[in-house]
Symmetry: C3
Subunit: 311 residues, 3 copies
C-alpha cells in the first residue's frame, strides 16, 4: 500500500484546491463516522451535516458550495464524490489480486492472455477465448470458448460469460434446442459482478461495450447489446436481443423484456419491468406501492374490481 | 464441423420441401442481416419482410404461407422456426464440449457416470450421484450427493443441483434447521442454465421431469415438481413444493409461491408473481404498468388513496 | 447414521410427552404420505387431516390441541414443527460433508481455519480470511480476502462472500471505481444458500449477525447490516447500506432499496419492493395482483388513465 500523502500532494496529482493546512498528512480514506486524524473523508450533502460536525477526520473532500461547512483541512473539488473515488484509488489498489495465472486455473491452450492479466484460482478460460491487458478474473470465473474480454476488465467470482442463450423452438410440444453459435464480446474498462451471467449469442454476438458496469447476479440474455458507460444494479435481468443505450442507469431487480430498444440517457427505477421500447431519455418507473398488508389487500381488490367493471 | 449440404440433402434428412434450386449449397446458418451466399437463414413473420428483401443469404427456411415472399432458393416447412433449429443442429454441435471427465473435475468414487458423458473442468459430482448417458456438465457445475441426472441433459456453468432446501422452524425466535434428506431427480433431455439452483427435497425429492428447459439464474425450491416439457425463462423463482404442470411457459423473473398447483398449458408472463393456484389453462399476467416517473407517482398515489378510502 | 430410537428415548432427549406406546421404535422421519411403520411424521394443521387419517407412519409429532386427532403413537409438543426439526436432527446430520479441507480447495496461507471446519472441493478461502469452529463450506464457495465467518456457519455451493460492492462515481459520463476496502463479517449459526452473494463494504464492513438464515441467490449489497435471527427467502435483493432489524422475515424475490432502516419484527411479503424505511413492526406487501391476461390489461389501462387524469 502506498505511504501517506499531504493534501498538497493529492491536489498536485488529482486537481482541486486545498482550503486550510495543505501539509495535513492522510494515510487512508474513511467514512465520516469511522474516520480518525489520519483519514480523509468526504461530504456530499446537507443530510450528512450532523456527521460532518461530529467527525474526527483529518481532512474532508467537498464541493465548492460546501466549502464553508467545516473548518477542517479540506479539498474543494467540483465533483467531490468522483474526486473521493480517485483519492481512494491513490491509497488502495483497484484490483486486489496478484498478476499472473493461478496454478489451479484451467486455461485452454488456445486461449489468448494479454499483458499483466490476473487469472484467479479455479477460473476456467475456454478454447479461443481472449482476455485483454491488465484485466482481472477473480476466483471461479468461467469464460466459455470463443468469448473475448477487453482491457482493464474486472470480473468477480462466479460470473459466467458465454453460456448458451435460451434458444428453443416449440415443435409440437417438444422443445428443439437451437445451437448458440455466437459469442460474447466485452469491451474495455467493464466491470462484471459476482454470479452475473452473460449468454453467448444465438447467431451473432452478445456485446457489452466499453465502460459498462454490471453489479452482481445480473442476467444478460443472448444477442443483447449494452452500449458504452451504462451501469446496471444487482439482480437485473435483460432478455434476449434487447438493445440498451449509452449512459443509461438500470436499477436493481429491474427487468427489460426481449427485442426492445432503449435510447441513450434513460434511467430505469429499481424493480421496474420494461415491456415496450423507450425512445425518449428520462426516468421510468413501475412498481406497485407497498403498504401495510391490510391496506394493500384493499387497494389490490379495488384495482381488480375496476378491471372487471371496465371489461 | 460437418461439411456443406445442398437444400436437397437437408430436406432428405429433415423433411420439408425445396422451392428453387435444390442444388444450392450452404455451410452454416445465419441471421437475415448477417448472412452471405453460403448461409441459410429463416423468415418467420411479416415484421421481418424488409430484412428478407435485403438479405444476401443463399437460402431461406420459411412457412407455406410465406413461400412467395422471396425468390431465393428456400425450404418450405410447416414449423419454420423448429425446422431452422434442426438445420442449425446439422451444422453445429448441440454440446460444445469433449466427451470424458476433465482431470480437474472432482467426481466421488461412488458416483455413477453414464456412457459418453462430458464432465467439464472443475465440476463436482458428489457421492451416490448419477449422470445419465450423453449428458454434459459444463465447467463448475456442482451436483450434490445422491442426486440423479437423466440422459442427454445439458447443465451450464455455475448451476448447483441438490443444495439444502430452505427448511427452518421458528423456535421462540431462534431458527432450527430441518435436515434436507430428499434429493433432486432430473429427467431426460432437460437443459439447466448457468447459475441456476435446484434444491434437494426436505424429505421427498425435488423432481424436474423430462424435456424441461430452465434458463439461467432460476431458483427451484425444495420439493418442487416441474412437469414434462415446461420451459422457464431466466431469473424466475419457484418456491418450495410448487407443482407446475406440463407444457407450461413461465416468463423471466416470474415468481411462483410455495405449495401452489399450476395445471398443464399455463403461460405466465414475465415478472408476474403467482400467489394462488391456477387451475385453468391460459395466460396470466400481473405487473404494474411502467410509466414516466411523474405519471407513475400520480398513479401510485391514486391507488393508495383508493385503498385507504375503501378501508 | 444413528440407530433407531423409541418415542420414550426421543422425549428423554428433546422434551415433550408421549401419548400411546412409548416403546414404538422409529428410524427416520418422513412425510405423512411417504411414511411407513418405521417412520415418525408430523401434523401441524387441519388442512392435513385427510393425510393424517391415511398415513401409515409409525408415530406422529403434533401439538397439544391436536392430540386427539389420531390414535397412532405420538409425541405431543408445544411447537410440533420445531420439535420435528429436532427429531430429524437426531436421525440425520445437519452438515452432510466430512470435516477437513478437501485437497482441491485453495486456502491461502494466511487464512485462519477453526476447529473441525469442513472445506469442500474447489472452495477458495482468501488471504486473511477466517472460518470459525464447526463451520462448513460446501464445494465451490469463495470467501474473498479479509472476510470472517463465525462458528457453526453453513455456506452452500456457489456462494460468493466478499466480492467488491457496486461502488462507482459518475465523473462526467465515465464511471470511476471506488475501491471497496471494507470486508464481510458473518456471525455464528448463520446459513447462506447456494449462489448467494454478499459484497464487502465500501469502507466499513458488511455485517450478517448471528442466527441469520439466507436462502439461495440472494444479493446483499455493501455495508448492509442484517441483524440477528432474520430469515430471507430466495432471490431477494438487499441494496447497499440497508439496515434490517432482528427477527424479520423477508419473502422470496423481495427487494429492499439502499440506505433504508427496517426495525425488528417486520415481515415483508414475497415480491415486494421496499422503497422507504419501515419503522413499525408488522407485515408489509406490495405486488400487483395477477389475473387472466385480458383482465390484467384492462386493470392496467384503467390505472394509467387515472394517473394521467389526476396529473
Amino acid at each position: 500500500m502506498p505511504g501517506p500523502l499531504t493534501l498538497g500532494q493529492i491536489v498536485a496529482r488529482l486537481g482541486g484546491r486545498v482550503a486550510g493546512d495543505a501539509e495535513t498528512l492522510v494515510r487512508q480514506v474513511a467514512s465520516l463516522e469511522g474516520a480518525t486524524a489520519e483519514h480523509i473523508s468526504f461530504f456530499t450533502g446537507s443530510r450528512y451535516r450532523a456527521k460532518l460536525a461530529a467527525t474526527r477526520a483529518g481532512a474532508i473532500v467537498l464541493g465548492t458550495e460546501a466549502e464553508a461547512e467545516t473548518q477542517l483541512p479540506r479539498i474543494v473539488a467540483e465533483n467531490p464524490y468522483a474526486y473521493f473515488a480517485r483519492v481512494s484509488q491513490l491509497f488502495n489498489p483497484v484490483v486486489a489480486q496478484a498478476v499472473g495465472v493461478h496454478p489451479s486455473a484451467v486455461v485452454a491452450k488456445g486461449a489468448k492472455l494479454g499483458a499483466r492479466v490476473s487469472i484467479g484460482a479455479l477460473c476456467v478460460v475456454g478454447e479461443g477465448a481472449s482476455i485483454g491487458d491488465d484485466s482481472c478474473l477473480y476466483p471461479q470465473v468461467v469464460v466459455y470458448p470463443g468469448c473475448s474480454i477487453g482491457a482493464r476488465v474486472i470480473v468477480h467470482s462466479g460470473a459466467v460469460i458465454g453460456a448458451d442463450g435460451f434458444g428453443i423452438a416449440d415443435d409440437d410440444g417438444r422443445w428443439v434446442k437451437i445451437p448458440q453459435i455466437g459469442a460474447v464480446r466485452v469491451g474495455d474498462d467493464v466491470e462484471i459482478g459476482a454470479n452475473t451471467t452473460i449468454d453467448r449469442g444465438a447467431i451473432d454476438d452478445t456485446v457489452i461495450e466499453e465502460g459498462v458496469k454490471l453489479d452482481n447476479q445480473i442476467q444478460v440474455g443472448h444477442n443483447v447489446r449494452i452500449r458504452a458507460h451504462t451501469a446496471i444494479a444487482g439482480c437485473a435481468g435483460i432478455a434476449g436481443s434487447a438493445d440498451i443505450g449509452r449512459h443509461c442507469t438500470i436499477g436493481g431487480a429491474a427487468v427489460i423484456l426481449g427485442h426492445l430498444k432503449i435510447v441513450d440517457h434513460v434511467n430505469i427505477s429499481a424493480g421496474t419491468l420494461i415491456s415496450r421500447s423507450i425512445l425518449k431519455p428520462g426516468t421510468y418507473t413501475g412498481v406497485y406501492p407497498f403498504d401495510e398488508h391490510e391496506s394493500w389487500t384493499r387497494s389490490a381488490a379495488e384495482l381488480r374490481r375496476k378491471g372487471k367493471k371496465n371489461g
